[in-house]
Amino acid sequence: MSAAAATTDRVIGYSRAINEALAEEMRRDERVWMMGQDIGRLGGVFGLTRGLLDEFGPMRVRDTAINETFIVGGAAGAALAGTIPVVELQFADFLFTAADEIFHKLAKWRYMHGGQFTMPVVVRLPTGVVGGAGAEHSQSLETIAMHVAGLKVAVPATPSDAKGLLKAAIRDPDPVLFFEHKGLYRVKGPVPESDEHVVPFGSARIARPGSDLTVVATGLMVDRALAAAEQLAPQGIDVEVIDPRTLVPLDIDTIVSSVERTHRLMVVHEASRTAGFGAEIAAQVHERAFFALDAPVWRVCGTDTPLPQDPDLEQACIPSTDEIVTAALALAAI
């Protein structure tokens, strides 16, 4: 989707887009309900669920105690009984406090039981670095979800995708980990007016077409990659920016065909570099397009460190636009 809004698009915030998706899907399907900490009266620590308690009442917007294993494991059990739970963990990092429930129960229940059950659960996970929230409140853990088969993984970067992917997630029979970037909550963008704005999983978005270098970026990094592309254009490097939007399923075809045109690829992500999903994309592209590549795939990633509890220091741990520009120049020069 280009930056220019279609005539029927409104410009709204990423938070608002998520809130709309929740409300619309709850209106559409009575089986959809939510639980999480502080999602009711408060409307969520980040305000994502504001107004939903009033519209849908306390049985469909339920405040839990501090019990992540119940929030996720309970959602799993509730999904088996014919409802569609959309639950919120206050921070994506808390998937570690419910890891058995996420990586075992959500991911494997259907499989272990020979396909007798479906597991339509969405876990909303406010993710990423913003405002100095610290080592256990700022991580980008989507790679782990990608490694464990049975889950689907969304990483929306724009208001439009946040809304469309969340609606797709709620309609999906499989468990979806929905990584909303906290640093994007206030970002505004065009979002179609329609109730049926559903963005299918597994289709990458070419955020900027270009011919010299492909950059794959997700979440907060998409805007930084786009900004880097603008800086690189006058220097004669025309960057194509691709946002996969979902990591599972991953639209590797779009990436590979881009690389076949540009012959160079850089993956930019906020997650720690080592064994991050950039490695997977790099490995797949090398496997499929080795002889089309003029240079190895590079990765510009978060540091292999925990995140310090400081808004400046944490920024030093994730790729900046400058770093992307510098790396792109060096890669283009190979």
Binding site: A78, A81, T83, H104, G115
Partner: protein, 318 residues
Amino acid sequence: MNSPGPTAEQVQLEVYRKVVTIRFAELRIREHVEKEGFGGFWHPGIGQEGLQVGAVSAMQPDDYLYYAHRGLGYAFAKGMELEPLFGDLLGRRTGSTGGKGGGTVHFADASRHVMGQGGTLGSSFVMGAGTAAASQLLGDGRVTVVFFGDGASGRGTWHEAALQASVWKLPVVWICENNGWALSARFTEQSPTEHVADRAPAYGIPGVVVDGQDAMAVREVTLEAIERARRGEGPTLIEAKTLRIRGHYEGDRQPYRDDPVLGDEIPNDPVHRLGEGIADDVRRGIDAEARALVDRAFDAALAAPRADDSVIFEDVWA
């Protein structure tokens, strides 16, 4: 036996029939494991069938069941046929999981609300509470029953589930099969209180201790707990005192155990207790039928094809 109006005698006969069937199944499986072995582990439930069947006999067909890993009493009592159960055990395509289970099983039957089992103990505390939350939301009047062992009672998921279920008054009943052992760990050495049920007041819910060898007594307390749950009054914790007759898994030599009950001398055997009120000839008739049923089902399962490798790619995603 879940239809309205069976007499007390009819109920007892039916419970007996199911218990004795599972007893024969236990013996048949043991024989097979000793002779042939199979993948995974078989956790025998011999001696605990009474409480399993007794409790499940108190459930309605639409109620949800999360069973524990010891034996087949729960699932059979909930209406599953033996053949798919054996099929799972033997890794057959005809097993309820279509060949993905073998040995330690994750049998399930969505139509009978047999909800399956996780490999990590205690995950059914939170899942069961969630299933009950769905029933509460849908107003479908169903109750969820969750079995677990004394060992599993140590997991934190218990606490998270019990607090929330109590506050929300969820229609869930927890049944602890306290057989005194968690693998090599004695309950008495890993619990600060005498009973698991002593933990119920912490959650503002009733805690009930019952003789797990007395199937009909277990049925009674479960009936009460289920009714309470269905009335919207919230969860109950039932603790059925029982014994682990055999090793943790079939083949476990139990070097850690100072009270091995290795033979088939089952103290307070639920089969005998249930059989007491039944006329000899009736009982012998039931026994013979049960044995035949088990043999037929086991043979059929044995004869069924194993799953081929292609199944590994099925059912990862919907």
